[in-house]
Assembly symmetry: C2
């Protein structure tokens, strides 16, 4: 495999640092300068890589989402758990990861959605696409869990996924606010073992 070009490496480094900084400080709290400084890139060359801060953040959303989906696919390909157990494992793993980051980096997309809403068309499009893709994977798992009699089937998999998704995003706000995952974990199990039970 050819070694990635230097400019490609720099672009990737900008995105990686951008994901970290945005997760911690949000859209308006993250300055391009601090990211460039961290990656040791001169200020003038930012526009060599991205057309604008908006375009940069939209790309970050896409990369972040693709990374999560790859991790999820890898996990599912190697798991022989039941669909419901897979859902629990996936979400508990995410909570564990957030916990190891002091509960201050929740779902990047949820945080940017809270801050920007639909104010940036570029970022909105990237977020809507990312959410749709992730919901497809979670929705497929929900449907398998419904077919296995593990999740109630008086609503479609899509409806159940929509409620579950909203509950998850809301519980992450609470996690960030409280600084621990206790409530988020309780709410997760109240949903999967309680309200969504057949």
């Amino acid at each position: 495999m050819a070694r990635p070009k230097r400019s490609e490496q720099t672009r990737e480094a900008l995105i990686t640092t951008g994901i970290e900084q945005l997760s911690l400080h949000g859209y308006h709290g993250t300055g391009i300068k601090q990211i460039l400084d961290a990656v040791n890139v001169p200020k003038g060359s930012f526009y060599h890589y991205f057309a604008s801060k908006e375009a940069f953040v939209a790309e970050i959303i896409r990369v972040y989402s693709a990374q999560l989906l790859t991790q999820l696919d890898d996990f599912l390909a190697n798991s022989d758990e039941s669909p419901l157990a897979q859902l629990k494992t996936v979400y508990c793993l995410m909570l564990d990861r957030f916990s190891s980051q002091n509960c201050q980096q929740g779902c990047l997309i949820g945080s940017i959605a809270a801050e920007l809403g639909n104010q940036s068309e570029l970022c909105q499009t990237a977020m809507l696409e990312s959410v749709a893709k992730s919901k497809q994977v979670v929705g497929a798992l929900m449907q398998q869990a419904q077919e296995a009699g593990q999740i109630r089937n008086d609503y479609t998999a899509e409806q159940v996924t929509a409620v579950f998704w909203a509950t998850w995003e809301g519980s992450l706000l609470q996690m960030k606010l409280e600084g621990n995952t206790d409530s988020a974990k309780e709410i997760l199990f109240l949903m999967l073992d309680g309200l969504l039970k057949p």
Copy 2:
């Protein structure tokens, strides 16, 4: 009644404008300067009113939350609907209000929680207190609805309220992202008429 002092009026105007700007632009996206300009207050005198931006935002959170609670109390005092119908009315009214603001001003506390988490102790304390107070009122309604056989009672009112709260906050993120209240409304009724049904 004595007329409020001029400085008290200015303080209130700063808070009112602060609520609007923070709801739209978030913590880091809201500059003190733009608020002072809007209220016609010279820059130097901000610290006459508030010790810091953090203290200002913490006060905004308290005032915003107290206003919502007063509106909720007024509504409940004048309503003869059933507890479940009251819950539906209250949340639909909030969605109508958000809708009239182009769905870009969701729950101020949820948005600041997403952005700041526990990074500012002053704001965190104000948010935790506000959430606890609101949950108490909603929790009492949930309990009445449980006692009236309108909401499932296999979980405590506190547990049901915790899940409902998270779902609501998450659905508001979706509202901001999508720019309409369709999903939020669907999720609201899926909870109250579906997953939380006895």
